[in-house]
Amino acid sequence: MDYTAFIRPEYVLMLLFAGALITYFAGKYSSMARYSLSLLFSGLALLMVALLYGKNTLSVWTPSITPNGISMYVGTNPLTWFFAIILASLSFLTIMYSIPIMKGKRMENWFYTLTLLLMGSMLGVVFSSDLLSFFIFWEMMTLSSYLLVTLAGKRSDKAALNYMILSTMGAYSMLTGITMLYVHFGTTEFSLLSAQIPGTPVNFLWLSLGLVAVGFLVKSAALPFYVWAAPAYSEAPDGFTPLFSGALSKLGAYGLFLFMYVIVGMSALIGMGSFRGVSSFGYAIALLGSITAFIATLYAIREDDIKRLLAYSSVSQVGYILMGLGIGTSLSVAGSLYHALNHALFKTVLFMGAGAIIQLTGTRKMSEMGGLATRMPITFLTMLISIFSLAAIPMTSGFGSKWLIYEAAINKGFVFIAPLAFVASVGSFLYSFRLLQAVFLGQLPDGLKDAKDPSLLVTIPMIALTSITVLFAIVPGVPLGAIASAESYMGIQPIQVDSLFYFRIGNSFGAYNALVVMTILLFAMLVAMIMFAFAGSKSKKVDQHDTYLSGEIYEHHSDLGLHYAANFYRPIERMFEPYLRLRLERTYDAFGRGYELLSEGIRRVYSGDVQTYVYYVIGFLGMLIILAGWWW
């Protein structure tokens, strides 16, 4: 039998949804079945997605599910594949990682079911080729991720609810935009839509695209909507956060790519108004992205909670992705896609490592950790490389993507976006250094003396992802090849990749030979290490609290925050303090509270006294009579 007939996106989705169901029922009886089945299904799905490479399919999908003769389509194309492979592999690795991490946690069985469901709906979002199924999968994804966040129990209630409310708000805005498109064009299928776009009134496009974009901006936690992100990322169960931040946040970017470049298309986008050759719409997105990147970085610098720090870092990195996406040149789009990939790689590792450390130490406060580098070498190394990648230090693939984005921004001469991006980049170095320093360096607290690396199920995904990071740093052409074909699918001039040597990426403005850079840097590192080896022998081990305590007994002051990681960047914080106090969360909170108060007032309408109701009735009638145009 020809197995390739089954390598179609619809079968991937079916497999996952059926798998979720099977896993739930099997998992009720045996935890072993639960683990093996969820691994099996996600692995199989990953395999199928990988085999989809280079395929272009489009098929009608169970038309019965839709109202009124609208069919649903699923299909795959280079752009889809690029995101699908990221999502699928992350889901698979996260499930693997969750087995030890989520063991014995609350509602463990539901966790695997929902993760498979989430994986299915995420893949559904990218595979869907019409508006309706896109929206349905989008809603499913929101719902299943919401449920996953709530699995953490009461602690996550508020975060989960806020996440759900904001997401739904975004989804409804998206729904409005989508139905506008549908009603205007009479079709939902993407290619049919995009064929009709030329000649559409500009106002209509702005409105519908803007409404749709709100949904994506919410999901990618861009500026006015980022408030849900930090609490939700940090309160979510440790097993889910890597997937949440690594994979799910990319779907906002995917949606924007889809709607801006695939459906509306570059020429129509430029037709909506342009600014220095960049579409105004894209510029707005890029601006939002850059401001988000900047602000979220500032928040991340202040955080002592490891998961919140990483959460803010996620928000900021997704800001970069939006930046590249919005600028919309060949270089920036490539950078944006590449950064999406990189962020998925390193942020997943970081959250995985954080989860492992939290499980080990039982706290999320970095000021209660320290010195774990020697005890958890694998975790340390993988996280170290990921942090390098996060901070865009050369020799990791994170450098390449940010480099592309910067260059695009500079080329266009965006005096506002480019500096913000630079500052944010410095900021990201600051917080990642804090993470590194506070968690891994310094002295071990007494409680963590027997800490050791987590089990293989945790380390294997981390190692796998890290090695990909390193590999792509040397041969950026491999991912960029896929990116180039995605770009050409989107109708953007593809980035040039040296097809023989995957080391060179570049365009007419310049090139970047990863191998050369790597070699030089490796050499420099080697020199530095030799120097350190000589200097290292002179270093002295001190207790973390020594410098402050003057002989006092530490235990009496444990609440003072004397750990050196507390107030790590106090001076910088002080600089921004007044601005950071203007938190957007407050606005949302105030709005929510205000509305609740309002509705408290509204329901006083129902006074409970029947006579009031009689007044309403008669008043209504009187009003109608007057309205009926009856006055002599």
């Binding site: 129902y606 409970g608 006579q611 009689v614």
Partner: protein
């Protein structure tokens, strides 16, 4: 014309009772008054100058009678009014049993 006036007036009085009387029995009386007003309205709608009762016996000609249809409707509505009043009164008996008052202001355990 006076019938119209009376009908409108009865309705107004009924509404007055509903809006300004606290006693629930009085409110029900108000409803009854409104009903009567509506009935009167219906009947007077069907009146034809010089007409007589629509019973074609004893040499009454069809040309001489008033419109019988509103009367038929009134017949139905009277019964409905009776039913509502009876049910309302019996509910009020129950209300009184529980609240020991007929004041509609006081009968508002459920609100908002």
């Amino acid at each position: 014309m006076i019938y119209y006036m009376a009908a409108a007036f009865l309705i107004a009085i009924g509404i007055y009772a509903l809006m300004l009387k606290k006693n629930m029995i009085k409110m029900v009386i108000g409803l009854s008054l409104m009903d009567s007003g509506v009935n009167l309205l219906l009947i007077s709608l069907g009146y034809i100058n010089g007409g007589t009762a629509p019973i074609l016996l004893n040499g009454v000609k069809p040309q001489e009678v008033v419109d019988p249809l509103p009367q038929a409707l009134v017949l139905t509505n009277v019964v409905i009014g009776v039913s509502v009043t009876a049910l309302a009164l019996s509910v009020i008996i129950r209300v009184y049993k529980h609240y020991k008052t007929l004041n509609s202001d006081k009968v508002r355990d459920m609100k908002w």
